[in-house]
Symmetry: C2
Subunit: 90 residues, 2 copies
DNA sequence: CCGTATCCTATGAGATACTG
DNA sequence: CAGTATCTCATAGGATACGG
């Protein structure tokens, strides 16, 4: 729960499942989460080994985040949670 | 996450898996959670249909909490989470 | 015994402005 | 573009005392 809990981590993993995503794209896709929240959660998830940050270019700076193999196992798990929640209509 | 998240809900379900438990016993078994927290979480879990509160006797008052069938599906799920966490040492 | 009441802290979350 | 800084608010969580 410490690693996967909260409002945003699941959505972040979900949006990374098809490959690396740039920071601003990710923040936009999460509509509703401020950039502050996104970066805070990303730092924790990086620390936990769920995602990997990559600086793609300096000047203009470009950063992408991608899901790790470990993050993929967590995502599979969260999809089960989603199925459970939908099955029971909550 | 809204239904199962946080520090205590998993442990509460875990401690109810072998049958009804009285409030004070439950609070003691959760060592570290104040009675206020326990009752707050129990109320939310009752609302969500995960547990059922039963007044076993008036004077002296005795109350037990037991896991519902729905709560059992959540518990199975949380045990998978526990396995996942242990497997990856987090 | 089963809670409430009261007070406190920490943190997730949201809004908005700013910066290298 | 990818963040920081600053502020506010709500809530989880904790400690302790009190009540029916």
């Amino acid at each position: 729960m410490r690693v996967l809990g909260g409002k945003w981590k699941g959505s972040i993993l979900w949006h990374l499942k098809n490959g690396p995503v740039r920071f601003n794209d990710l923040a936009r896709q999460l509509g509703g989460a401020s950039k502050k929240m996104v970066v805070q959660r990303l730092r924790e998830m990086e620390e936990a080994g769920l995602v990997k940050r990559k600086v793609v270019s300096d000047r203009p700076i470009a950063v992408t985040y991608e899901i790790t193999e470990f993050g993929q196992t967590a995502l599979s798990f969260l999809e089960e949670l989603k199925n459970w929640a939908e099955k029971h209509q909550i």
